[in-house]
């Protein structure tokens, strides 16, 4: 307690009282992110307003050996933003300026606390777009997106966050400020630290500014829905679409459990009796979009278990579908008191097999599991909904997921496609990477954060 007090006092002296909070209620409000079962109050919450202030906090933390956990919107699904070792929760949401949107250079320069949607809207005002669109885009921050290399609903055609980070300003674990990359399309001077920081989950540096690439905003977008007897059928359709030489923006699927939960919230008139739903869509010039969407509808119809295909009537209908898809996870929470979500990724052709075997695993453990995901990317989110007060059920869910991870690795896949490792998946990282690889991660971390203060107990530890 006395130690807590003095850290807070020291930080108040450094940054002033408006940026430092250590009352119990504030600490409690920052004790979680969106990952269930992980909870710890940070000792102090700091909300810096500039890179200089961030650097000052980090220097102080390095000197005193105080853990520091960078935090954006706290929508992490791997406990990445929970201060599991106590210390400082460094909240970057007040650094939320959009410093520049350059149409001729197709880029924007932003502070880390800008939300994904705010950046895309600012780009939109100039006829541009920010392509990465994680389901959490209305809340998640660019800093968080970069730190987790977030994916989204149009990854198949546009890739993920990593493909749009041109340059960063970051504060290392020593308090030193460095700039990587920049406004150049080409630049090979030095190691590619921009990429290294992307997906580093706040364990190597605190991102304090980002230069990100933008694209011309497509003139039109079109979406459709196809219903199938089961998720394997929908996966087969996905494979067939890509196999037919179509590279659409969006191929998202939901199984029956997810369809029912989403319909319960969004009331869109989805077919709740279908085994699975595939949301397909593309953007571009109107004629191409129309043709691509029609071809995808045709391919879907030709899959034996396809029950029905419908096209979204207009932009509003398409937006409603996308919004509903983004809500899959919280909507599933309606079904039980504990919602545990995973994020495995497999090579696309192995997906029908993966979803069938995941369903088997859930049945064997006797738990309710809804699966949805970015089907075009081979990225699956099997989600168990159990009774929090039933330890046996919680245990069964954990065991089931351990099998799911093994399955993913067996199929040539990975334990996390986009949500990250954080604290939640660290126990499984060795199985994916092997000891040598883990050792390299530790040495890399030590080079950037010799005192080991940046998000300890996560990646690189």
């Amino acid at each position: 307690m006395t130690q807590t007090r003095s850290a807070a006092d020291d930080l108040v002296r450094l940054l002033g009282p408006d940026r430092v909070f250590h009352d119990e209620a504030t600490r409690e409000a920052y004790a979680r992110d969106a990952t269930p079962l992980f909870h710890r109050r940070p000792d102090v919450v700091v909300t810096p307003a500039s890179t200089a202030e961030v650097a000052e906090v980090v220097r102080y933390a390095a000197e005193t050996g105080t853990p520091i956990v960078p935090r954006g919107a706290g929508s992490s699904l791997c406990a990445g933003a929970v201060a599991l070792a106590g210390g400082i929760s460094l909240v970057l949401t007040k650094m939320d300026a959009i410093l520049e949107v350059s149409r001729p250079e197709l880029l924007a320069v932003v502070q880390p606390g800008v939300t994904t949607i705010a950046l895309d809207e600012a780009a939109g005002a100039q006829g541009l777009m920010f392509a990465p669109d994680p389901g959490s885009r209305t809340v998640s921050t660019i800093g968080g997106n970069i730190a987790t290399c977030a994916g989204g609903l149009r990854g198949l055609k546009y890739g993920v966050t990593r493909n749009y980070v041109l340059g960063l300003e970051a504060v290392l674990g020593t308090g030193e400020v460095i700039r990587t990359g920049g406004r150049l399309v080409k630049d090979v001077a030095g190691y590619d630290l921009t990429r290294l920081f992307t997906g580093s989950e706040g364990t190597l540096a605190v991102i304090t500014e980002a230069t990100v690439g933008l694209l011309p905003r497509p003139a039109a977008a079109g979406y459709g829905l196809a219903y199938f007897g089961d998720l394997a059928g929908a996966s087969t359709a996905v494979d067939a679409i890509v196999g037919a030489g179509i590279l659409p923006a969006t191929l998202e699927f939901l199984d029956n459990t997810c369809i029912r939960a989403v319909e319960d919230f969004a009331v869109l008139g989805l077919d709740v009796t279908a085994g699975a739903l595939l949301l397909f869509g593309d953007d571009g010039d109107p004629a191409t979009v129309e043709r691509t969407v029609a071809r995808m509808a045709e391919v879907c119809s030709s899959v034996p278990s396809c029950r029905e295909v419908t096209l979204a009537a207009d932009v509003a209908a398409a937006d409603a579908l996308l919004a509903a898809r983004r809500c899959s996870l919280p909507a599933l929470a309606r079904l039980g008191t504990l919602t545990l979500l995973e994020d495995v990724s497999v090579p696309r052709p192995r997906m029908p097999e993966a979803v069938a075997r995941i369903a088997d695993i859930a049945a064997r453990y006797g738990i309710t599991m809804g699966t949805f995901g970015h089907a075009g990317d081979g990225n699956l989110h099997p989600t168990a909904v159990v009774d929090a007060d039933d330890p046996a059920a919680v245990e069964a869910a954990h065991s089931a997921f351990a099998e799911v991870f093994r399955l993913a690795i067996d199929l040539g896949g990975t334990i996390s496609g986009e949500h990250g490792i954080g604290a939640a998946k660290l126990p499984y990282l060795g199985a994916r990477l092997g000891e040598t690889h883990l050792g390299v991660l530790r040495r890399v971390k030590a080079a950037f954060d010799p005192a080991g203060i940046l998000n300890p107990g996560k990646l690189g530890s």
Binding site: D23, V91, F265, A333, L338, T339
Partner: protein, 360 residues
């Protein structure tokens, strides 16, 4: 046990509610966000924070109770219900703000409520109709013309001057049991359908008596009343200002919109009365929030400020409200800002349009 267990466990801390919350918008501090407040409630429930923690008490009071977080929550967290339970627990006894205590005491007995309206010219005509008009406690005193307008719009409405308070005020201010009891009593006093001119009362009554018993006025006018021939606009047609249709905006009532899902109806009525203009942020709280404007005048002013800016830009002829607290809040704000926009309850505007088309 302070909270109904299943209500708290629904929240998965996804944060989707953050952008909807006016107090989070003001502070950008998660403590004053819906997710943060639910975290505090959980800590109270598990005993890891004491009931008298100053930060917890502050947040239960700083919350507007606007329920904007509820409609955007995909997990279906019933925040409004949680807040009532929270205030019930934290504001017990002397911890409740003095103003609130005084207000609640002023309307906790039917005779006191009648006294409030005794010398005011609110509607009081018995028709024996199957639908009753609710007079509201403070509305009959502050805005008696609203009920007169409502019966002018639908003369079949029965008005029982002996009715008391619906208890919404009590339920929102930490007297949950009293609030519910008052609602049930009113439900017995006014059998059949209860028509109300206050969004806040409508949501509370519907919560206690059931949705089928309660209809807010704009929904009544566009539904059952228009079916019975009390259709809009009246004989005089749209309201004219300088020879052109008046430019009319709306401020939603939070509980009407977020609690009962009524927001299309008032807009449709206004579109028939003039040129309807959607005010940016119409759906978000104006800061009246029941007793909030009295208890926390400074925060209330901060919440209404962006609305005043929007109104200044729009330069509307008329801004319409569907809840008496909003009428008061916006009349004050508009007057202080020196805007020419007239703030008036939907009932009054619709009734005046039918009589002489003046909108007065």
């Amino acid at each position: 046990m302070t909270f109904t267990p299943d209500l708290l466990s629904r929240c998965i801390s996804c944060g989707f509610c953050l952008p909807a919350c006016p107090t989070y918008e003001l502070t950008k501090d998660e403590r004053s966000s819906p997710r943060g407040r639910i975290a505090l409630m959980r800590a109270l429930e598990t005993g890891t924070l004491p009931m008298n923690d100053p930060g917890v008490a502050e947040e239960s009071s700083f919350c507007l109770g606007c329920r904007a977080c509820e409609v955007v929550c995909p997990a279906g967290v019933e925040y409004g219900q949680l807040l009532e339970e929270w205030r019930d627990a934290t504001w017990r006894g002397r911890r409740r703000p003095v103003v609130v205590r005084a207000l609640l005491r002023a309307v906790d007995r039917t005779w006191k409520v009648r006294l409030l309206g005794l010398f005011r010219r609110h509607a009081r005509r018995r028709t024996g109709g199957s639908a009753s008009l609710m007079l509201g406690c403070f509305e009959r005193f502050l805005y008696p013309k609203v009920s007169r307008s409502a019966v002018a719009l639908d003369p079949r409405l029965d008005v029982d001057p002996g009715q008391g308070c619906c208890g919404a005020l009590h339920a929102h201010n930490g007297e949950l049991a009293e609030g519910r009891a008052l609602a049930r009593k009113l439900g017995e006093r006014l059998p059949g359908t209860i028509v109300t001119t206050s969004g806040g009362c409508a949501a509370h009554l519907a919560d206690v008596l059931g949705r089928d018993r309660v209809v807010e006025l704009s929904a009544w006018l566009s539904g059952p009343a228009s079916a019975a021939g009390a259709a809009l606009p009246g004989p005089a047609g749209p309201i004219l200002v300088d020879g052109r249709p008046a430019r009319i905006g709306l401020q939603d009532s939070c509980h009407l919109r977020n609690g009962l899902g009524v927001w299309r109806e008032p807009r449709a009525i206004l579109a028939a009365l003039g040129e309807y203009v959607e005010v940016p942020g119409a759906a978000s709280c104006c800061g009246a929030a029941g007793t909030y404007a009295l208890v926390r005048p400074e925060d209330s002013a901060k919440v209404v400020a962006p609305k005043v800016d929007a109104l200044r830009r729009l330069d509307l002829d008329i801004l319409v409200t569907v809840n008496p607290g909003c009428t008061r809040q916006l009349q004050t704000a508009v007057r202080k800002a020196g805007l020419r926009t007239r703030v008036v309850h939907l009932a009054e505007l619709a009734a005046s349009a039918r009589t002489d088309g003046s909108g007065r």
